[in-house]
């Protein structure tokens, strides 16, 4: 019990720390891709920039529009942040450590329906954006919120269906179960190549990241759903986006890229605790790569138009996801893995 509490506290701190440094990395990656240097004034290489940004956010005037619905206006950022932080609990950050006969699992909780839990939290996260946008009583905020809601609902469908095919092959909804199934080196990315593509695309849309950042589309909607937010409420929204990005990267890594698996590590004969720690590091390396991928895509692709976004979601991704399920099912029947 105490261990779980400590583990979750550390996880919370790591999540917030990673999110803070994602903002720094985002600015650096953007700068480098545009042949600039990026923030380099606060500390060595600008490493204290997130700190400076945080202080700035706190020092800003916390403005509440007089026409806003106060309760919902406060709830919006809170929900966005809470749901973003809750998802990290079920992700298997590593194997199980053994010290003095006690087993310490590097996973906060392992419900049998880990994936569904993440989906539930992400869906509740939409409320944070919708409530915030609606409560602001501002047309741009409302437009942003509506876009966010319809975008997330549309892409959740394709995302869920790409997972269905994965669940069919792995036979479990538990995240640790899915990762354990990949420990022999057969990462799901090789089993479900189309599924990976669909899932990553949908993850981008779920995180409101470019090229799907229509809810906060600056060129059309001022700031989108967070137009009327300032100070740390705005900070929470922006931070929640980065936390979501971190969690999405973790989910992508554990579902399709082997989680904390390092290929052929079991043949080296290292101590099991060492393997677990190396595995966790490998997991974080994978997560970092996907965070970089998020940024890489953002600074490469222009934003979709709204009708293009909907066309892609409903007319391309969902049929492809269904096709993926059919192909997977057909292969399993043909291969004799299931009997009709």
């Amino acid at each position: 019990m105490l261990y779980t509490f400590i583990f979750l506290s550390v996880l919370l701190l790591i999540t917030l720390g990673v999110a803070a440094y994602e903002t720094y990395a985002e600015r650096k990656v953007a700068a480098f891709m545009q042949d600039r240097i990026g923030p380099d004034r606060a500390g060595p290489f600008g490493l204290f920039q997130p700190l400076a940004d945080g202080v700035k956010m706190f020092m800003k005037e916390d403005f509440v529009p007089s026409t806003a619905n106060k309760k919902l206006y406060f709830m919006g950022p809170a929900i966005a942040m809470t749901t973003a932080l809750l998802t990290g609990v079920v992700i298997p950050w590593g194997g199980t450590l053994h010290f003095g006969g006690e087993a310490y699992s590097l996973q906060g909780a392992d419900p049998g329906i880990g994936i569904l839990y993440i989906f539930a939290m992400v869906s509740i996260g939409v409320y944070g954006i919708m409530l915030g946008g609606w409560a602001s009583n501002n047309k741009y905020a409302l437009y942003g919120a509506i876009r966010a809601a319809s975008q997330m609902v549309s892409y959740e469908l394709a995302m869920g269906m790409s997972i269905v095919a994965l669940v069919m092959t792995t036979g479990t909804l538990s995240l640790s179960g899915i990762v354990n199934g990949q420990l022999d080196g057969t990462w799901n990315v090789f089993v479900q190549p189309l599924g990976v593509l669909l899932f990553i695309t949908c993850a981008f849309a779920e995180c409101n990241r470019a090229p799907f950042d229509l809810p906060e589309c600056e060129t059309e909607l001022v700031g989108g759903y967070h137009t009327e937010f300032s100070s740390m409420k705005l900070g929470f929204y922006l931070f929640a986006e980065y936390v979501n990005m971190f969690i999405s990267s973790a989910v992508i890594s554990s579902l399709y890229f082997g989680g904390y698996d390092i290929p052929f590590v079991d043949q080296t004969g290292m101590a099991s605790n060492l393997v677990v720690i190396l595995g966790t590091l490998a997991f974080f390396a994978k997560v970092c790569f996907f965070i970089f991928l998020f940024m890489w895509i953002r600074w490469t692709l222009p934003r979709f138009r709204y009708d293009q976004l909907m066309n892609l979601g409903w007319k391309k991704l969902i049929p492809l996801a269904i096709l993926n399920i059919l192909i997977t099912g057909g292969y399993m029947v043909f291969n004799g893995q299931v009997k009709l």
Binding site: V29, A31, F32, M33, Q34, D35, R36, I37, D40, W296, I297, W299, T300, L301
Partner: protein, 196 residues
């Protein structure tokens, strides 16, 4: 007569809205191509940013920046407060008050008349260098020093403290770069009154 447009360059392209091929429609090859371009910039392309206060962009030798009021070889102020610079100034940025040199000040001011107050409003100045051209005493020059930024307007009215160069020989401000051979040759022609 209807005008027919001639292409001015070889760059003009015929626009077509032909059907996209399958590869173009799935968009992925284009995405990968774009990503390879950004990745190339991320790793290999030299960054163009200059870390400003530490590294400065090279300026021309005859850059026109922060003015200087020169002293002569014996350290006397050359300016005689004739006001020609103020008259020449298109932005009306220069203002001065003339005073008469007292006994015993011969080592400070070269001429009998000198500027007790000499101010240039750096917010008005357009750094054209006309004051330098107008000066008969070779007293005012523009230099390659940058006028630094500030939070207030007031500090931008530069007085003699900011403008007159220091007395010490080592701290004198070199304006020889501004005096190109053409300028020096012109200044030798003593038949012009302002060169005397």
């Amino acid at each position: 007569m209807s005008a027919t447009f001639q292409p001015l360059t070889q760059r003009s392209r015929v626009v077509s809205d032909k059907k996209m091929t399958f590869l173009e429609r799935i968009y992925l090859p284009a995405i990968l191509k774009g990503m390879s371009i950004t990745l190339k910039h991320f790793f290999f392309v030299k960054k163009v940013s200059l870390r400003y206060p530490e590294v400065e962009k090279p300026r021309s030798a005859i850059y026109r920046g922060h003015h200087v009021l020169k002293r002569d070889d014996q350290g006397r102020e050359r300016c005689t407060a004739c006001g020609l610079c103020a008259v020449a100034c298109p932005a009306e940025a220069i203002t001065m008050i003339a005073g008469e040199r007292k006994k015993g000040e011969e080592s400070v001011y070269r001429e009998e008349k000198y500027a007790t107050v000499y101010e240039i409003n750096m917010l008005r100045c357009i750094f054209c260098g006309d004051c330098e051209d107008a000066c008969p005493k070779e007293a005012i020059f523009l230099t390659d020093r940058i006028v630094e930024a500030d939070y207030l307007r007031k500090p931008f009215v530069f007085g003699k403290n900011e403008l007159v160069e220091p007395m010490e020989k080592s701290k004198r401000i070199d304006v020889s770069k501004r005096q190109t051979p053409d300028v020096l040759k012109f200044k030798e022609q003593r038949q012009y009154s302002h060169n005397r």
